[in-house]
Symmetry: C2
Subunit: 348 residues, 2 copies
DNA sequence: ATGAAAGCGCTAACAT
DNA sequence: ATGTTAGCGCTTTCAT
């Protein structure tokens, strides 16, 4: 591929002049500029971003590491992040950790090696991006959706705690006294917050702890299935299930359908977040919606601010932003059943 | 951040030796290697990928441009692609075109500028990556899911045509004689193939063309809604709707629910592809599933082959791979209703 | 086995 | 307004 030198040769101009002409810098005569542009066009010149990045020591790319590429919680945010960054000329280096802290750390390291100008990160555990903070204390990092224990990073999260509480309150309002929560991995900040919200609400509403079991596992659909079976078997008086992620909600519905347990007739079900399909699920799911678009947008802005700010009079104190969501009530939650579940449900 | 020179100074060795030691090249004494490694560790050295990429003229990154970050058709493939490439040390530069050919072209150009080693691309129109093919006739490109008119690229697609036909056949087997298809934008290869499959099957099964309307629009849920209304209004005898994308299927269900049209009692509905939620939709959707994981895996392999092959004895002829899918019948399709739809459906 | 030096393509500081 | 030059950090000959 042709380079600046080729254009310089072609036009008989100097290297510097060509560079300035192409980059739109001042102090280039219009005639020269036209000549350069024309030559570049003719030769099919494409400037080499790597060389520029090396020289300017900024790559105009930012890394994004998320745990799941097929989950709207992350991809919705990623989509917006991508949009916002693109308008400023930044490209996204996307990586997927599959929820594994080791992979996560390795990916982060590879991003540093590629000299990204900033990183958006959904941590897979309490250590988050600690390893790269050690190497580079000033690289802009924003945590999205989940938080690590790092205190030197910006963060954007949803009000998971409040959302959980609203779900419980809604259920209690309908008359439920025995509500089960299916939770995710205890090492994640989202799990912790959602769990706390659940337990606080239970306490406040004077629901007995033993009537409101909490099962923690993974964020998968399969865990939703297993947990549902356990609830049915070990807590037969539960009348409502709160599945604290959309994947788990899917597993819950699947299992309940399979066993012939009617929703909401025999069992109320609430989810979390609001993927489009909740609206056409059988039945449509009650849930707590988070403004993912706004969250992604905010993450992008925080990152860009840090990247572009003159490092001199910086704003060193990390900013944490929490977004409120809203309860959406649909047909999957109703008054509790009055009779016990048919005893044959678990022995088909 | 520290660089090779710092390590050289620290250890008293030459630049070249340090480089070789770090890169694991031969001809370095074990003692020296140890000393270098140790110094690198101590200084917190992180090699600069940009400089290496510039020097070796390969960036170890590949670009991926897809039209929608919130659609499993693309993200499922992207997830696998990312996995496979990561094992070979390649990073993914992810871009989202939002289905706009201009954005698409601009993004492709920016990837070339970043000197990616290859590109996976879901084109937004017949021109695809033509603009960059002109500049660089040998850059490895694989088209995923959709195809452009370019003949100098590899491609991985699903058997859209056959899938469409299978849907129609299934519906006809149930007794439907008037089936409506909601199609996407006519400029896309997927739309063309799905439409052809539909029309061929109709012809073969001797369904009258005027009984089987085909409405083309966009791939959005909102188009699914609008098309449903039109079908109900303008083709009241239709007893089955084939929504040829999952987004559209969502719109169809939403509208049918809203109008109180029973599925499958009053109207059978079939989708395309098989996002997880189809299984828990109200009701679970009949569809044609494509092996997206395998497709993404194949795309990655084709790309890697082209990237790593010695450009000398290349395999210049482009390869196109088409994957078969399978029909999944669920509760959303049943025998056609026997009585006309309640006339009040559209005037609530 | 190690060191010295050239150069990847670009930008920016300095001359003119 | 334009030309010249010195690197950015690395790999890779080519000497030693």
């Amino acid at each position: 591929m042709p380079n600046l030198k080729d254009i310089a040769k072609e036009t008989g101009l100097g290297l510097g002049t060509v560079s300035r002409a192409l980059s739109g810098a001042p102090r280039v005569s219009p005639a020269t500029r036209r000549k350069v542009m024309e030559a570049a066009q003719r030769l099919g010149y494409q400037s080499n971003g790597l060389a520029r990045a090396l020289r300017q020591s900024q790559s105009h790319s930012v890394g994004l590491v998320i745990p799941d590429l097929e989950n709207e919680f992350y991809t919705s945010g990623a989509a917006i992040l991508q949009d916002v960054l693109a308008t400023q000329g930044y490209r996204l280096l996307l990586c997927c950790s599959n929820g594994d802290p080791e992979t996560d750390a390795a990916l982060l390291m590879s991003l540093v090696e590629r000299r990204v100008d900033g990183i958006a990160h959904t941590p897979c555990g309490p250590d988050g991006a600690r390893s790269i903070r050690r190497l580079n204390p000033t690289l802009p990092i924003v945590e999205y959706a989940r938080r690590s224990e790092l205190d030197s990073v910006d963060s954007v999260t949803g009000d998971e705690r409040g959302g959980s509480a609203e779900i419980v309150e809604h259920l209690a309002r309908l008359g439920h006294r025995s509500i089960a929560m299916i939770a995710g991995p205890p090492a994640l900040s989202t799990t912790v917050a959602r769990t706390e919200g659940f337990e606080e609400a239970c306490r406040r509403l004077r629901l007995r702890k033993r009537d409101c079991p909490r099962l923690s596992g993974t964020y998968d659909a399969s865990w939703g299935e297993e947990a549902t079976l356990r609830i049915l078997r070990e807590h037969p008086d539960v009348t409502a299930i709160y599945a604290s992620s959309s994947r788990m909600a899917l597993g819950v519905l699947r299992t309940l359908h399979r066993l012939g347990v009617g929703v909401p007739g025999d069992m109320s079900v609430a989810g979390f977040l609001n993927p489009l399909w909740y609206e056409v699920a059988g039945p449509p799911l009650t849930t707590y919606e988070l403004p993912l678009k706004d969250m992604g947008d905010m993450a992008a802005r925080l990152l860009l601010q840090r990247i572009t700010e003159t490092t001199g009079d910086a704003l060193p104190e990390p900013r944490t932003v929490r977004f409120e969501g809203r309860l959406i009530t649909r047909e999957s939650t109703a008054r509790p059943r009055t009779a016990p579940l048919a005893s044959g449900v678990l022995t088909p």
